[in-house]
């Protein structure tokens, strides 16, 4: 069995698939959609702050 015999077919397959016109607008829309997603860090900040607060209260010496 020789997988090497399939190498020309793989090259041909790639060539066929590269012939489609790249939809630049679609790619732009995709990457801009990612950029425009607001990163909501508020819940994480609130949870972390509460945990620190609890630690400070509970771990006070005296």
């Amino acid at each position: 069995m020789n997988l090497n015999n399939l190498k020309p077919a793989w090259r041909q397959f790639k060539l066929i698939n590269s012939m489609d016109e790249t939809n630049k607008d679609e790619i732009l829309a995709l990457i801009e959609e990612v950029e425009n997603v607001p990163i909501n860090r508020l819940p994480g900040i609130v949870v972390n702050s509460l945990m620190i607060l609890v630690l400070i209260i509970c771990c006070q010496g005296g």
Binding site: M1, W10, F13, I16, L28, I31
Partner: protein
């Protein structure tokens, strides 16, 4: 348009053959292929900042694309079920032609997800060490899997001249 976006679109245009071929190797349904293509484009965009040019751009595209596809396929509940090969179909004269894409598709569709990635990288001409870097597996593991796949294909496609 920003330079980074222009550069990215140029990369996508030049290497869309790789990405679309990989999507078609893993998904038979057009909508699934389109979905996978979008996932890969997004992942490549997110990973672009980390690309330092240490490897060829094609290698980077293979690494990101294959790992995105493998993760996607793994996470999907309704995973594509590889249909068992019908030996009767393999004797069709049209697929006996040298370098036939139909035969390539048949071989790829008969493989497990990771084995498929290894075979694709082999067909692309990568060595075991390079494949291990792309897929995050040890070279020994790659070598073992590749040898096993070759044996399995030999058994499955024993009626075809190309595999004798």
């Amino acid at each position: 348009m920003e330079k980074k976006k222009q550069y990215f679109i140029r990369i996508m245009s030049e290497h869309q053959g790789i990405i679309k071929s990989l999507c078609k190797a893993y998904y038979t349904d057009y909508e699934d292929q389109k979905d996978a293509y979008q996932d890969i484009v997004l992942q490549l965009w997110k990973s672009l900042e980390n690309y330092r040019g240490e490897s060829a751009i094609g290698t980077w595209i293979y690494r990101v694309s294959l790992n995105t596809l493998l993760a996607k396929v793994r996470n999907e509940k309704t995973k594509i079920i590889t249909e068992p090969l019908q030996m009767s179909n393999l004797s069709t004269p049209s697929i006996m032609a040298d370098g036939d894409i139909e035969l390539l598709n048949m071989v790829l569709q008969s493989l497990k997800d990771i084995d498929k990635a290894i075979v694709i990288l082999f067909l692309e001409g990568y060595k075991n060490k390079e494949m291990s870097a792309i897929l995050g597996m040890s070279p020994t593991n790659i070598s073992t899997r590749l040898n096993r796949v070759k044996s399995e294909l030999k058994a499955k496609f024993k009626n075809l001249n190309e595999f004798k």
